[in-house]
Amino acid sequence: MLLFFQQLIEGLMSGAIYASLALALVFSHRSTNVVNFAQGEMAMLSTFFAWQLIEWGLPVYAAMAASVVVSFVGGGILYVVFVKPIARAPALTVVTVLIGLFIALNSLGGFVWGYLNRAFPSPFAGWKVQWGALTLSGEFIGIAAVLLATLLVLFLVFEHTRLGLAMRAAAAAPEQSRLVGIPVEWMLLAGWGVAAALGAIAGVLIAPRLFVSPGMMLGVVIYAFAAATLGGFDSVLGAVIGGLVVGVAENMAATYVPWIGADLKVVVALVIIFATLLVRPSGLFGRTTVVRV
């Protein structure tokens, strides 16, 4: 039973990180209606940026915060350069451009920082909470706190500010939004900025558990895709719940299904994506969109 709870906590911890990356996918999808295959690589660059600042002597927290802010700007720039010009292009064009972006960003990481595995200090290391036989690591509490704080900020901004309302409107009904005077392109840019910032959060949270390297997000982004698919690509709540479910499912499968183990657990993500697309393509909390032809 103790093993179960430890694995549950371990799963929730990975799940919270998948959730923040899935949130990034949801935000880029909601604002520009594309599935951003390069989201993981954007997060990798954000993480490298934070690592570089730490190398240069900045405190861990400050480096993380700076990375989130710079990522916001970087996400906006990527939107303007790569996504805005293909806003009306066919789906295949968009997919091709985003996969190209994925490869380009991955190579950029290697070009600037090389392919060595770099250790990233955990900001939450060194403290823990003992609860009976159960140990809650500082990392668990830290990651949970960051995810909750992120959600709270998103909720306050998007549900209670004029800017958040305008961003939602620009994403949902761009033409109608222009008619009420909303600068739609700026709102979509901000949407990509938010997505990149969320990716940066996921990156710096997971970095201490992996290493920082150009390939670090490959194994993570697949779980984020599973989470977003399961929860629905346009649902914030779905991304969070999807992330937690995927994290727990992955850990439980690795622990209790002997032949899966650590090597095959990525299959869990694939199975979740496949099953969701078969049974409920819009995801658990996604809305089915009806396209009028």
Binding site: R162, L165, A166, R168, A169, A172, A173, E175, Q176, S177, R178, L179, V180, G181, I182, P183, V184
Partner: protein
């Protein structure tokens, strides 16, 4: 009467296709103008061209300001509210959010709240449904919301694209009664595209008739009702 909107030699369209050819008209401050024409004549395109939602050549001058190279959102900020055909509301958003979005270009929080309260009073059904999503309203309520949303901008010029589309005759009459009342209270200038020519001509001061993207007839609404061609083509008797 000074012209609030002057359109000169306006050619506009989509892609390589020009829908409007050399259209010219003016709307005086406080005037209500109706645009008649068959399907595909370019009525909707005229409204969209004024708002910068198509490509255009020629001049569109609003309140002395050239709008031909101005973006849609800046035109809205200048005081032109447009209720597009059929979908004048943000359907996924609540009634109240729709009204707040309508006031996006305004900064005066207290005034916005006062206006929202005012339109709830004016359209009581909206007040009752303020937390409901716009998409769950009936057609008539949606059109009232679309008008209220447009008025939240405090527009000087209101463009209405087929407000009666898909509405029952009684609901249409109520809508126009409300618009008449608003026109008196707010000193609004309106440009309306309408299929229901009878109703529109009764409501408007002036009328323009479009045919294949060209303006073929213009005149005071009362005269147009007596015009044999207009009567046969649009009034059906």
């Amino acid at each position: 009467m000074t012209a609030l909107l002057e359109v000169e030699a306006l050619t506009a369209g989509y892609g390589s296709l020009a829908v409007l050819h050399d259209v010219a008209f003016a709307i005086g401050t406080g005037e209500t103008v109706v645009m008649l024409g068959a399907n595909g004549a370019g009525k909707t395109t005229t409204l969209r061209a004024i708002c910068g939602m198509t490509w255009r050549r020629g001049r569109v001058v609003f309140d002395g300001r050239e709008l031909a190279s101005t973006s849609t959102q800046a035109i809205a900020a200048a005081g032109v509210a447009h209720v597009p055909q059929g979908r004048g509301t943000f359907n996924d958003f609540s009634v109240e959010e729709n009204l707040m979005l309508g006031a996006y270009v305004r900064r005066d929080k207290a005034d916005i709240a006062r206006d929202i309260a005012r339109w709830y009073e004016f359209f009581p059904r909206l007040g009752e449904r303020r937390r409901q999503s716009a998409g769950s309203l009936s057609g008539g309520e949606q059109q009232m919301l679309a008008v209220a949303r447009a008025l939240m901008l405090r527009p000087r010029l209101l463009l209405l694209d087929e407000p009666s589309l898909g509405l029952a005759p009684l609901v249409t009459q109520e809508l126009f009664a409300r618009l008449r009342q608003l026109r008196g209270e707010l000193d609004l200038t309106m440009l309306i595209v309408e299929q229901n020519a009878n109703l529109a001509l009764e409501f408007a001061d002036r009328c323009h008739v479009l045919e294949n993207g060209r303006l073929v007839l213009s005149g005071p609404a009362a005269e147009m009702r007596a015009n044999d061609d207009v009567r046969r083509a649009y009034l059906g008797y």
